[in-house]
């Protein structure tokens, strides 16, 4: 019954999506909006990476919402796992093998540094706050593998989460009060293209996003790590 129903649903969806895909030809230019961004993005936002100029410039409000989604999910995960009868007390710290321990201690600062590089250069090269934050979080993942059961300092990570989110909103509100009086408008000088200190508020927002995503994803990993006790 259920299988037959699923196959019918799937067939309808397949025909529909297939037909719709054929209506969107592959590889041909089709949008004025995208062309406008490629044409004017450098002058209007000062970023060399057009994806960044869209993510943190033209559609920065989406990014604010997206950071919020991650915040909601991390909070919700914490709430679900710590609800009545959830967590069973403290975990025991069990060091893994010496090789893994030494390796993770050696690699962790380098990975974190690389993550910071990725989100600092988001407006120049591929990468940005999300990718950099994910790299930082994978550094934390490695640290967990090295010392099984160790927990990050939750108060520190709560403060990092909240302050980076707040920084994003405050940057937006400053844009509302100075300059063009638009929420999230780029009120700082855009500088010379392809230099580190350019593109106005874009690097600042990406730093906030990097911290936010990094602390959020680390928190998710911390919540889900097996309790060894």
């Amino acid at each position: 019954m259920r299988t037959a129903f699923s196959i019918v649903v799937l067939a309808v969806v397949a025909v529909g999506i297939g037909a719709a895909l054929l209506a969107v030809p592959f590889g041909s230019p089709k949008t004025q909006v995208g062309d406008y961004y490629n044409e004017h993005g450098r002058a209007q936002t000062g970023a060399a990476n057009m994806v960044t100029s869209v993510v943190v410039g033209y559609r920065a409000f989406d990014t604010l919402g997206e950071v919020t989604v991650l915040f909601v999910a991390a909070l919700g995960l914490g709430a679900v796992l710590s609800a009545a009868g959830g967590r069973s007390g403290r975990r025991e710290v069990q060091p893994a093998s010496l090789v893994l321990l030494a390796g993770s201690r050696f690699l962790f600062p380098m990975i974190t540094l690389f993550g910071a590089y990725v989100f600092l250069h988001g407006h120049l090269t591929p990468g940005g706050g999300f990718q950099g934050g994910a790299v930082v979080a994978s550094g934390f993942l490695l640290l967990y593998l090295g010392t099984r059961g160790r927990r990050v300092n939750r108060i520190g990570s709560t403060v990092a989460e909240s302050l980076s989110g707040l920084a994003f909103v405050v940057i937006g509100l400053i844009g509302l009060t100075v300059g063009g009086r638009y929420f999230l408008s780029n009120f700082m000088p855009t500088g010379a293209l392809n230099t580190l200190f350019s593109a106005g508020i874009i690097p600042l927002i990406y730093i906030a996003v990097g911290f936010k995503v990094g602390s959020e994803l680390s928190g998710v990993i911390d919540d889900l790590v097996e309790e060894t006790a």
């Binding site: 940005g128 990718q131 979080a137 990993i221």
Partner: protein
């Protein structure tokens, strides 16, 4: 070029089907990892290096790790 793309797509779909049929959840998750990995290579071919980076670091690495953690705290096999 097209041969490379077509074979990558084939690998990706094969990995997804493997994730569908495996009864062992751990194998299923490990099989879905190449889906993200190949997708990230295809994103690179489609001139989307930003997305390729995000897909590789989040989709292939972090999600797999999070799945493995969750499976360790639950049960490994589908009943």
């Amino acid at each position: 070029m097209i041969v490379v793309v077509a074979s990558l797509v084939a690998v990706m779909l094969a990995a997804a089907i493997a994730a569908l049929v495996f009864r062992d959840l751990l194998s299923s998750v490990i099989a879905s990892c190449p889906v993200s990995l190949v997708a990230s290579i295809l994103f690179l071919f489609l001139q989307a290096p930003d997305v390729a980076m995000a897909e590789a670091s989040i989709g292939a690495a972090l999600i797999t790790a999070v799945f493995v953690m969750a499976i360790r705290r639950t049960s490994r096999y589908e009943e």
